[in-house]
Symmetry: C2
Subunit: 356 residues, 2 copies
């Protein structure tokens, strides 16, 4: 948390599904809430778990997305065996979602009301409602049904939120409809009519970057101007310019931290903004990752040293890479905000993306 | 390094053998020396690798000590297979040591002169000479031969040191002789007559704590009063009181950091000074590890949170545990130094060890 503060990170996003399974939301509440538990005094956002449900449900069925380890060493052998036989892990109904924990095979339920209450117990500042994610392989028919379910859940979430909210939290609705224009528009209009504090765009964004940009363009004019718009699970550096250009205010992505875990550093001007530190040419390179970067990592350590840390699997390696990559994102977003203010966002985009 | 500075750590000990294998000493020299490479501006000590040679030689043969993974994923299959068949990894001769790298099966040599030159290249402040470690299972005859070899190596190390030293480094000799009184005394007398800046006690210290204390007592009156005495690879909290009591000034041990990796925290008053955070009774414990500890970990986080981090294998877990355990050692040593100065070391020992 000290590192995040030094970097200038403003918001942390956490996950209701994961915290519900481990260590348990009641425990965190008894420990004084999530801010206190993990010592973060800035804004805290809680994703609902809709994506995790998708990952172990339709995502698994359709073979979409990387499914991580389904079993850990905490469950008993019998339960693990059940999971291994490919029994369905998720059942989606009108009431909510039933699923089997990937950790120990225990049954759990998530309902829209429960997700709101989890947000309250955690003390989250921005709560995302429960939604049903669909895959690009789902039919129009199913995507439409799932969207209608998400809409009903949104209404129930708002009702529960009004009933229980301390008044210090914000609730965001999530727009669905997959890659279908009329569904996305219906969803945007429906959600915009509900009293959410902000709107997220979730679910399948088509199967190419162009389709993703298009989905945003369909939705964008239908949302109120005075409320933030969050794109879930994006993005690459290039995507960020494209989505900000299309009016997105917030987004979240594992990219900077996941890349850090494998020794990939974000570098302006590098191919796809990536530098793989394990590459042999950095063996005796005394330069920092980025000459002009003033993050803790670049201020102190050479590429040769960072490569050595990754080769020897020193835990410090991932720590230093994470610091750099998060700092890189903060600098990028700072430049984007300044650029927008000064009316030269377009120039900035050209410069970063090396466009003519 | 920032964390170590905050904790108040004064000296770091590194290992010539490991750094020789990876990333290579010439590389570190080209990168400006070890201080600069890893950004540590305090004193730096370099252990020679005598213990590592023992670990893969006699230690392996005698089944003593934990032998870590002999192969990593960097070597080729052929080399790994050779190692796996149990071919000897180490050959000790009068000239020095030959060994096969546990990383990739490549042959290496270490001589007394080379270890001194490695220390110089690294920029180490305190260089430990190459020695031959023996096990408690070695005979009197072999232990005596090994000791004589170590003595010859010590003389050669000093000659090389005089020839090449920048004058800004110190060289420590290592006293051997296993658990045999007359050998230990001969070794202490021999080493004390050489112009070392300090003396380390190495090799087998017998097979019980009492024998270890006895070895120190044999050696202790034979060493010059004005030079530091280092006991290699010790120790447990109880041992520290016993060895300081017997005149030891310096020691090194993996205990605080190794324990941290498995979720074991050093705690005054706990059984064997250990608290295992994965124990279920800490599940919802809002207290810090030690109520009166002012380390970063105890100032910020609860036992419940630390247990959760260890359960989910969050890399932050080991980091926070290491900070606490190293801070614990610094506080202990600070109290011991003050206690000695005030003439109440004996009282302090009784208090810490809960003696009548």
């Amino acid at each position: 948390m000290e590192d995040l503060r030094s970097i200038g990170s403003q918001v942390i996003i956490t996950n209701a599904y994961h915290l519900h399974l481990r260590p348990g939301v009641d425990l965190i509440e008894r420990m004084g809430g999530l801010h206190h538990f993990m010592r973060w005094d800035g804004p805290l956002m809680t994703d609902s778990g809709g994506f995790q449900v998708f990952r172990f449900g339709a995502g698994r069925e359709h073979g979409i997305g990387k499914i991580g380890p389904l079993f850990t060493d905490v469950g008993n052998r019998g339960r693990r065996a059940n999971l291994a036989k490919g029994k369905p892990l998720v059942r989606i109904g009108e009431e909510g979602v039933e699923f089997i924990s990937y950790l120990d095979g225990v049954h759990h339920r998530l309902t829209p009301e429960l997700v709101v209450r989890i947000g309250a117990k955690l003390g989250s500042d921005i709560v995302l409602t429960l939604d049903e994610c669909t895959s690009p392989l789902h039919s129009y028919q199913y995507t439409s049904e799932a969207m209608n379910r998400t809409h009903k859940w949104a209404v129930r979430s708002l009702a529960e939120f009004k009933r229980t909210s301390s008044g210090r939290q914000a609730l965001f609705g999530i727009i669905h409809g997959g890659g279908f224009r009329n569904l996305r528009e219906r969803s945007a209009i429906f959600m915009a009519a509900q009293a959410f504090e902000g709107y997220a765009i979730g679910g399948s964004l088509g199967s190419s970057k162009e389709q993703m940009y298009q989905v945003i363009e369909w939705i964008q004019p239908l949302l109120p101007d005075d409320k933030p718009r969050h794109l879930l699970g994006i993005g690459e550096i290039e995507d960020i310019f494209e989505i900000v250009w299309r009016g997105i205010d917030l987004f979240d992505c594992v990219l900077p931290t996941r890349m850090a875990r494998t020794g990939t550093f974000l570098v302006k001007g590098a191919d796809r903004f990536r530098m793989h530190i394990l590459n042999a040419r950095f063996k005796d390179d005394p330069c920092p990752i980025e000459e002009r970067c003033n993050c803790y990592t670049c201020s102190n350590f050479s590429r040769a040293y960072l490569r050595h840390l990754f080769l020897t699997r020193d835990p410090l390696a991932v720590c230093l890479a994470t610091i750099h990559n998060l700092h890189f994102m903060e600098v990028l977003m700072h430049q984007i905000r300044i650029g927008i203010g000064q009316g030269r966002f377009s120039l900035l985009r050209k410069e970063w993306l090396c466009l003519a």
